[in-house]
Symmetry: C2
Subunit: 208 residues, 2 copies
DNA sequence: TTGCCTCTGTTAAGTTTTTCACAGCACAAA
DNA sequence: TTTGTGCTGTGAAAAACTTAACAGAGGCAA
């Protein structure tokens, strides 16, 4: 399974494949052809075969793809079959929403703790996740192998916090602030820019 | 200003341009060259010039771009200088987070009302936005020119609700559920798939 | 077993997107 | 005014990405 030089375009389709295959599997579907999957997903069969081939190809000629096998292969490619430790910074509305509702384990993560600058929250437990004061961040990161941090703090603190987390050896940041973070290049930043998404929608509904 | 056949790749960069230009403007910067902007944004100067040229080109040879003018042109292209009426469906954690924190007006929208199936919430007002019972949706849409709906409801209701909203003449859906919505093609769906984003991060931190 | 049909992996063609290169305008300095 | 530098708009080249096409493997029925 060669996973070098895989283009971002392909990578960003993998979670979607996973989602569809997982649903098919749960509906008891055993096998599926690239054509059938393409139709459901709104892609072309060629693209699907091409995509899977980036990782070696998991189908069988004349048969198609075995849904469960393919799903598991994709899970393994993405890495969600392993557990990566995560922490969340900022227990405001969005932070709380993620802690309560987001299925971290289904995305390969384990949410170890939440941090907030508000001392009044320290000691709380939300959805089994302990809330700690931000002053404990450094100690916590040193004691636990934290791989990613989720930024749901106010924008003005984002860059400073990103720098601190970089120092503490974090590998990835899931950034919900509307700030473009500058970090050294071995730290991965995945942005969730609500406003960009909303503005795109704004443009698209205005077209005729 | 020709805005037909603009590729999605270009469109998705426009909000980012807007963000940077707005910040430059607020910092008192008057003019900027494509090269300087490229450096800040992590793009190439060529791409920036190419992008702006899709809409006619707003710069001046030998000078560069006038920040405020360019920002306003982009705002007008995206459509955030107009006001589009929006409603939000589902006042759970994410819904509440958006109502409280998201700057709708800065993205060209005006959030008229929130809807929830929980009758106990009806009559509440969150951040000046009235919460109505879902039964009032139809009446409300008929009385107000609602252009987009934000889906922050449980996934299992998403498809049904999308169909209903389509009937009511909605133009766009901002979809926070992890369901792939099937709607007729003149309705625009803009997905915010947290899990796709998180899985992509998962993949990327695993690479070496 | 044979023959037919389906479907993948893979190479090639086509399309889109990005980058390069440069003519020519604008401003500043002399 | 003239000269030089900086910068855009634009057409062409390069790269990336998607779609098409097809050989051949495998299933299935007779």
């Amino acid at each position: 399974m060669r996973r070098d030089n895989i283009s971002m375009a392909v990578i960003r389709r993998m979670p979607k494949y996973y989602r569809y295959l997982d649903e098919l599997h749960q509906n008891g579907v055993d096998k599926i052809s690239s054509r059938a999957l393409a139709e459901q997903m709104g892609l072309t069969a060629s693209q699907i075969r091409q995509d899977f081939n980036c990782f070696g190809g998991f189908g069988q000629q004349g048969y198609g793809y075995h849904v469960e096998t393919l799903r598991n292969e994709i899970a393994s490619i993405i890495g969600i079959d392993r557990k990566h430790n995560a922490i969340i910074l900022g227990v405001g509305n969005i932070g709380r929403a993620l802690i309560r509702n987001f299925q971290f384990s289904q995305c390969g993560f384990s949410l170890l703790a939440a941090f907030d600058a508000d001392a009044a929250m320290a000691g709380d437990v939300i959805n089994k996740v302990p809330v700690l004061h931000i002053d404990e961040l450094e100690r916590f990161c040193k004691e636990n192998r934290v791989e990613i941090a989720i930024l749901t703090i106010p924008s003005k603190y984002a860059q400073t916090m990103a720098a601190k987390l970089t120092e503490l050896g974090i590998k990835g940041l899931w950034n919900f602030t509307n700030v473009e973070l500058k970090v050294c290049e071995d730290v991965i930043v995945e942005d969730v820019h609500f406003s960009d998404s909303m503005m795109t929608l704004c443009y698209r509904i205005s077209e005729e």
